[in-house]
């Protein structure tokens, strides 16, 4: 169809731009929702805020099929190895949104059981403040990722040099 529409015209672009343009509006999130923030993510997905306006409504529950990890909720030390495993199982390219105070920094759970920020374990692209953040800020984070992913290139690997606390050094 598209070919007919364009007729004889030829469009030239960089391959990176074409691929990133396609990726931008079809981010498939894996929601690692553990606590209160997961309920606010449900609001983000529901009719009023409607995440599908940004092409990210295909929520996957298998890390193999997702390229955007949304960590929504408190991550305890007990949960940390599981989060790392999920991240490792996602294929490149992948992005991470740390949703809410707990995931970003441990929030007001400064205690023996709560991981003080998931960036101890996995790399994070966008941090969303709030306890829990309003759905609008989650959408804002999503738009930041959409803008950011234009830096990706097929010819170089990025973010593979991250070493977290649970990585074997």
């Amino acid at each position: 169809m598209g070919v007919e529409l364009l007729g004889d015209a030829v469009i030239t672009t960089r391959l990176d731009d074409a691929v990133n343009w396609a990726r931008e509006s079809s981010l498939w999130p894996f929601v690692f929702g553990t606590a209160c923030c997961a309920i606010e993510f449900m609001s983000t997905a529901a009719s009023k805020h409607d995440i599908s306006r940004f092409g990210a409504e295909v929520v996957r529950f298998s890390p193999r099929q997702a390229d955007l990890l949304i960590v929504a909720g408190t991550i305890s030390y007990k949960q940390a190895p599981i989060l790392k495993q999920i991240y490792d199982q996602m294929p490149y390219p992948k992005w991470v949104i740390s949703m809410g105070a707990c995931a970003c920094s441990g929030g007001f759970y400064d205690n023996y059981t709560t991981l003080q920020g998931i960036d101890d374990i996995i790399p994070v692209d966008v941090y969303v403040a709030g306890c829990p953040p309003r759905p609008e800020s989650v959408l804002d984070a999503l738009m930041m990722i959409q803008k950011d992913l234009h830096k990706e290139s097929l010819s170089k690997d990025i973010k593979k040099d991250f070493v977290g606390r649970l990585d074997d050094v």
Binding site: C36, E40, K78, Q79, P81, I82, F108, D110, N111, T113
Partner: protein, 565 residues
């Protein structure tokens, strides 16, 4: 008093009328629990340990063991307490099925060993954790990394051994199962387990033969954090227990502290509390039902049920400034009065809820697929439900008529007209339908209150509890001092030990608080309905299909924040 025999049998024991606490000698406590059970104390609410290290009043010994037991008529409870000369006591798991997990928690957090317990292992903290965090000498910020998930196979083997499916040799090694079983993990990262529960199942084809659950993935150190914050600073932490109905937890906590302080709330405050609590109950049920039906593949219902919830959020943000975690209550009242025009907003929300719930219910109520998937699936008998300490809609679905609002009316509930919704079979269908009907009953309560909220103050008139008005803070030295002292030192609660509870959305939510006269509690223990409900899960799903096990998890409405705390 229902526990007469226990009280009269132990003449030397000290009974405290206000807190219902009977302090016994160490040698008598095990027998006293047995006696309470025989006298009708069949509903074990909680088992906990108190660490009296550094307590303001010197005690006989460092650790005390506490049982909170409710009578089977549900109107009365007793707290049995005994000091322990060494961190060791007898398990009561042969009497109460709920004691299994409660004792494991007490062991995990305080390092007290329960002898004759079938499987005394850590439950909330990870298996590599060293030490016991709720002991007073454990530093609050000392975190410990966990590098690997726990191997649940040993626990599974024990379960299979009880069922006679594996045998054990002299060295304690287990044989291969006699059936060809497949072992799978459901969770922790699974859509139905909400990221925080791990169920390890032994499958024979599609049938779950045995299940062991591992929890604690959302253990956030609530109780330890409470010990390091003033009473009003704890309110935001309580929001995040059952985060689907935050204000209900606020009320449960504030009410307990207010009873310890012996203060009476003004009528307007009580009416507002009941009003927002019932709305919270509704929105919690909405999210439970919406998620449950999605698990079943019925996505349409989700949109019908979630839209009224979104409207309620709008109301809550207008009232409290926050959508989900409201922190609306304060010790002695609440942070804001109702805003102008709240009645019209609530009328509109009530209408939307009626529409949404009515439509969603009509989609499933006479739906053959829904009936086949839920009726007589994963039932739990009334007897088992009580023994496992289930409460709230889960217990009522099994046909037990227990609602705190009805049996122990607090606030306005004895003046309000509502029905207690009771099921009959205790299957998934009953649990869903009880929630659907409870929404209607809560709407009924809200309608009775709308237009009848009395005028007046929303907080108690006591400068030792409530912050002074801002004009006093900025214009008078007394006001400034009052504000400063309340913020820095907190509301001072006289030294005592007290338990109180309300009917929260998921059941009886209680707080057992030990105060020491300062603005910081010495100990706060939550009696969390989801915790005991989850301990019943294994016995409910064994013998059912894998897909039903997933449904059952949604139907008991486990809120991880409250279960793991």
């Amino acid at each position: 008093m229902t526990f007469n025999k226990v009280l009269s049998d132990y003449k030397d024991a000290v009974y405290d009328e206000k807190s219902h606490t009977l302090t016994l000698d160490e040698k008598d406590i095990f027998e006293a629990v047995q006696l309470s059970y025989d006298e009708g104390g069949e509903f074990l609410l909680d088992i906990t340990i108190t660490d009296y290290l550094d307590y303001i009043i010197p005690q006989v010994s460092r650790f005390a063991l506490v049982y909170i037991i409710r009578h089977k008529h549900f109107k009365d409870y007793i707290i049995l307490k005994s000091f322990l000369s060494e961190p060791k006591c007898q398990s009561v798991s042969h009497l109460y099925k709920s004691a299994d997990w409660l004792e494991r928690e007490a062991y995990d957090q305080y390092g007290v060993v329960f002898e004759n317990h079938p499987n005394l292992s850590r439950i909330l903290n990870h298996w590599q954790f060293q030490g016991h965090p709720l002991r007073k000498d454990y530093p609050i910020t000392k975190g410990q990394y966990c590098t690997d998930s726990l191997n649940l196979m040993p626990r599974m083997n024990e379960r299979l051994f009880d069922m006679g499916l594996v045998s054990r040799d002299d060295k304690g090694e287990y044989s291969e199962p006699s059936k060809d079983l497949m072992f799978i993990n459901i969770g922790p990262s699974h859509p139905a387990t909400h990221g925080t529960i791990r169920n390890f199942c032994a499958m024979d084809g599609e049938t779950v033969i045995a299940n062991v659950s591992e929890i604690g993935y959302l253990h956030r150190g609530f109780e330890k954090s409470c010990e390091n914050h003033t009473y009003n600073q704890i309110i935001p932490y309580t929001d995040r227990l059952d985060y689907c109905s935050a204000t209900t937890n606020n009320v449960a906590f504030a009410k307990t502290v207010e009873e310890m302080l012996d203060v009476e709330l003004p009528p307007r405050a009580i009416a507002v509390r009941v009003l927002v609590m019932e709305l919270s109950r509704i929105i919690n049920h909405l999210v439970c039902l919406a998620a449950q039906l999605v698990d079943m593949g019925a996505l349409t219902n989700y949109w019908y049920l979630y839209n009224p919830r979104e409207s309620s959020y709008k109301f809550f943000s207008k009232l409290t400034g926050a959508r989900l975690t409201n922190s609306y209550m304060r010790i002695g009242g609440m942070s804001y009065d109702l805003y102008e025009g709240y009645e019209e907003d609530l009328q509109q929300i009530i209408k939307e809820i009626e529409d949404g719930v009515g439509t969603a219910r009509s989609l499933v109520e006479h739906n053959r697929i829904f009936h086949d998937r839920t009726q007589n699936v994963c039932p739990i008998s009334a007897e088992d439900a009580i023994s496992f300490g289930l409460s709230g809609p889960n217990l009522r679905a099994s046909g037990v008529n227990f609602d705190m609002r009805d049996k122990n009316p607090y606030y306005l509930y004895n003046e309000l007209d509502f029905d207690v919704v009771v099921g009959s079979v205790g299957d998934i269908y009953d649990r869903i339908m009880v929630r659907f009907e409870e929404i209607n009953q809560s709407l009924r309560i809200m309608k009775q209150l709308l237009g009848n909220v009395p005028d007046g103050k929303i907080c108690v008139d006591n400068p030792a509890i409530i912050l002074p008005p801002k004009q006093d803070v900025y214009r008078s030295i007394e006001g400034t001092m009052n504000q400063f002292k309340l913020i820095y030192e907190g509301v001072k609660v006289p030294a005592q030990e007290y338990y109180s509870s309300i009917e929260a959305t998921n059941g009886e939510l209680g707080f057992y608080i030990i105060s020491n006269g300062s603005g910081y509690p010495h100990k706060v223990k939550v009696k969390a309905p989801s915790f005991t409900a989850m301990s019943a899960y294994s016995s409910m799903v064994e013998g059912s299909m894998l897909a039903d096990a997933v449904l059952n998890l949604g139907s008991i409405n486990i809120i991880a924040g409250e279960m793991d705390r």
